[in-house]
Each structure stands twice: as C-alpha cells, then as structure tokens.
C-alpha cells in the first residue's frame, strides 16, 4: 500500500515535470482545462473494499444470452407439461404386467404393448397391424399385376412386330396399281 502510493507519487511528479512544470512549486497537480496526459494522476473514488471500478472491454454476450434464454423458454414451454404428464402416467397408471394368454381369449391388438402411452397410441392413433398388413399386401398385389401387364405388353409387341399379323406395327403403303411404270415400259430409254 505504502509502496503503491509512493510509486504513484513518483509517477505524478514525473508526469508534472513532463507537462511543463508549472505545478511543481505551486498547486497540487493538473488543474483547469489543460489536456491530460495518459498516466497522470486524477482524483478517483474507490468503492469500499471492491477496488477501483473498471470498464472492462469484452465482446458482446447479448446475442448469446438472448439465444440461450429463448432456447430454455421454448424447450420448457412444452417440455415441462410433457414431463409432468409422463411422470403422472408412470406413477399412477403404471406399466402392464406380462401374463399368459387365457384360454379362448383373443387379445386386442393394443394389448401387446407394455407402456400405457404406447397402448394408447396403438389403440387410437395407429392402424391395427392387420390393416397395415393388408395394405402392404394390397400394394404388393397391385405392383405384381402391373409387372405382369407390362411383361405381357412387351411380349405382344415383340410377336406383332415379328409376325406382322396384328393391329400394331401396321404401316400404310400406297396401292401398287397407282405406281407409274411408263419409264420402264420400253427397254431403250
């Protein structure tokens, strides 16, 4: 502390000498509207215990904090209700227990799932697996019939082109009675 004040006083004296020396003998340092050199001593109030207040220059964190705040807000907006709902379901409704299929009983298609939310989705949102199966088989059937039709069409095209006795590949040619053979009628042309 004492050393610091001594150093500061020495710095002040050096600065005053540099500034022109008018204040060495008389008043206590720079006064009035004279330009202040960097490093000169100016009276400063130190806040008790915290030290001198500094204006710390660093890059802005405004956009970062804004982004993180918005992210937290929008994630929790649906996250917290969803978490509460799922906790309620898990505690008060609970998962199903595994059991053997009773004699003569055909379980519904949603009774093959364990978690109550999966059961609900399978029951009310998704189609029954039998319907899905039939849909897949229907698509396969349509594609199979299309393949068959295309193969038959190619076969018909090939045969009609070879044999020439079908309605396709029927090119109209002019009648041979219309051909003018007068330039070939005498041998000495």
């Amino acid at each position: 502390m004492a050393a610091m004040s001594r150093l500061l006083r020495a710095a002040a004296a050096w600065a005053a000498r540099r500034a022109g020396g008018t204040g060495i003998a008389g008043n206590t340092g720079i006064s009035g509207i004279a330009p202040r050199l960097p490093g000169t001593l100016v009276p400063v109030r130190h806040s008790s215990g915290h030290g001198k207040r500094m204006f710390i220059i660093k890059a802005t964190s405004f956009y970062d904090t804004r982004f993180l705040n918005l992210l937290r807000f929008y994630v929790f907006l649906t996250g917290i209700p969803a978490a509460l709902f799922i906790t309620y379901v898990n505690i008060f409704i609970g998962e199903a227990e595994l059991a053997e299929i009773p004699e003569g009983y055909v379980p519904e298609y949603w009774e093959y799932y364990k978690h109550p939310i999966s059961r609900w989705i399978a029951r009310y949102v998704l189609d029954p697996p039998e319907k899905d199966y039939e849909k897949q088989m229907a698509l396969l059937d349509i594609e199979a019939k299309k393949t068959e039709m295309r193969l038959m069409e190619l076969q018909a095209r090939r045969l009609m082109r070879h044999r020439g006795d079908g309605p396709w590949y029927h090119y109209e040619t002019p009648d041979k009675n219309l051909v003018d053979n007068s330039m070939k009628s005498t041998p000495d042309n």
Partner: protein, 176 residues
C-alpha cells in the same frame, strides 16, 4: 422401468461360509455403515416404491406376447406369388429372431454357470458348454454367412446347397 434380471432363473446354491463369532473388541464398522444405509437410503426409497405400487395396483392391466400363425413356407410358394413370398419372408424373419434369442439364452446360461462354479467351471459346466457348441453350430449352418441382406430366399438356397453337399458326401461314402 427397465426389467430386473430374473433372479429365479439361475439359482445360486446357498453359501456355506460359517458364521464367525467376533472376538475383537472394536465392533465391525461395516454393520454401522449398513444400518446408516438402511435408515437413510433404503427405508425411504422402499416406502416411496411401495406407495407407488399401491397406486398402480388399483387398476391392473396386462400385456401378452403375440402368437403368430404358421403360414406356408417359401418352399411351398408358387413362382410369381408375391403375397406368399411376403408372408413367408415375415415368418422367416420372426423365426430368425427366435433363434437368435435361443442362442443368447444358452450363452447366458454358460456365463451364469461359469460365475457360479468359480474355479470348477471347466469340469462342472461341461454340459452347458456342449449345448452352446451345438446350438451355435446349428445357427451357423442355417443363418451363417448370409450377410446383412440375407432373406428367406438366400437361406433356402443355402439349405439347398447343404443338402447337395450331404448327398454328394453320402454317395461318395456309399461308393467306397
């Protein structure tokens, strides 16, 4: 909640360590730690868990394992019958999953036996090890080198090749 292991499946025989009468004057600190754990952690957790189970026991419901009907195999499908192919393929995939689970169960049995027997495992686990060997050989024969894109058709072709090899080996043996 994830399922616990089935403790009844691999029964460990009761330990035969004798109860030791402690002759030291300092009490065992482990018992103190055990009582602390019991009161601080075990009792509250058990109380909460049992409360939850009481809430869940009010309306019980069950789930079942689906039983699929057997459909005609790939070898019984006519050519060009894509619907038959589709059903046979689905059935083959289900059978392959079942076989994988079987191999997994036999492997777990060997592991449990090894853990149980300790230093005697080479002698006492011979049956389980033999079973695992047979099961893995059978799985390898059937589904072995089909690769990622293996389907019912490639498996059928592999079976056909296997039968041809067997027939050739039988013929060679008969002609000796």
């Amino acid at each position: 909640m994830p399922e616990d292991h089935d403790w009844e499946a691999y029964k460990v025989p009761p330990t035969r360590t004798p109860v030791v009468e402690s002759t030291a004057s300092v009490p065992n600190p482990v018992s103190f730690v055990q009582t602390v754990f019991n009161y601080v952690i075990d009792a509250p957790v058990t109380f909460v868990r049992e409360w939850i189970e009481r809430q869940q026991a009010k309306n019980k419901f069950y789930y079942y394992h689906q039983k699929f009907r057997r459909v005609p195999d790939l070898s019984e499908c006519l050519e060009g019958d894509y619907l038959c192919f589709f059903e046979a393929e689905a059935q083959w995939r289900r059978d392959r999953m079942v076989d994988q689970e079987i191999v997994e169960i036999v492997r777990e049995r060997v592991g449990a036996c090894r853990q149980r027997e300790g230093p005697n495992h080479l002698q006492n686990c011979a049956k389980e090890v033999e079973l695992l060997k047979q099961v893995t050989k059978a799985y390898q024969d059937r589904y072995g080198d089909l690769g990622y894109h293996g389907n019912a058709r490639t498996c059928l072709m592999k079976q056909k090749h296997r039968m041809m090899e067997e027939r050739k080996a039988a013929q060679e043996k008969a002609s000796e």
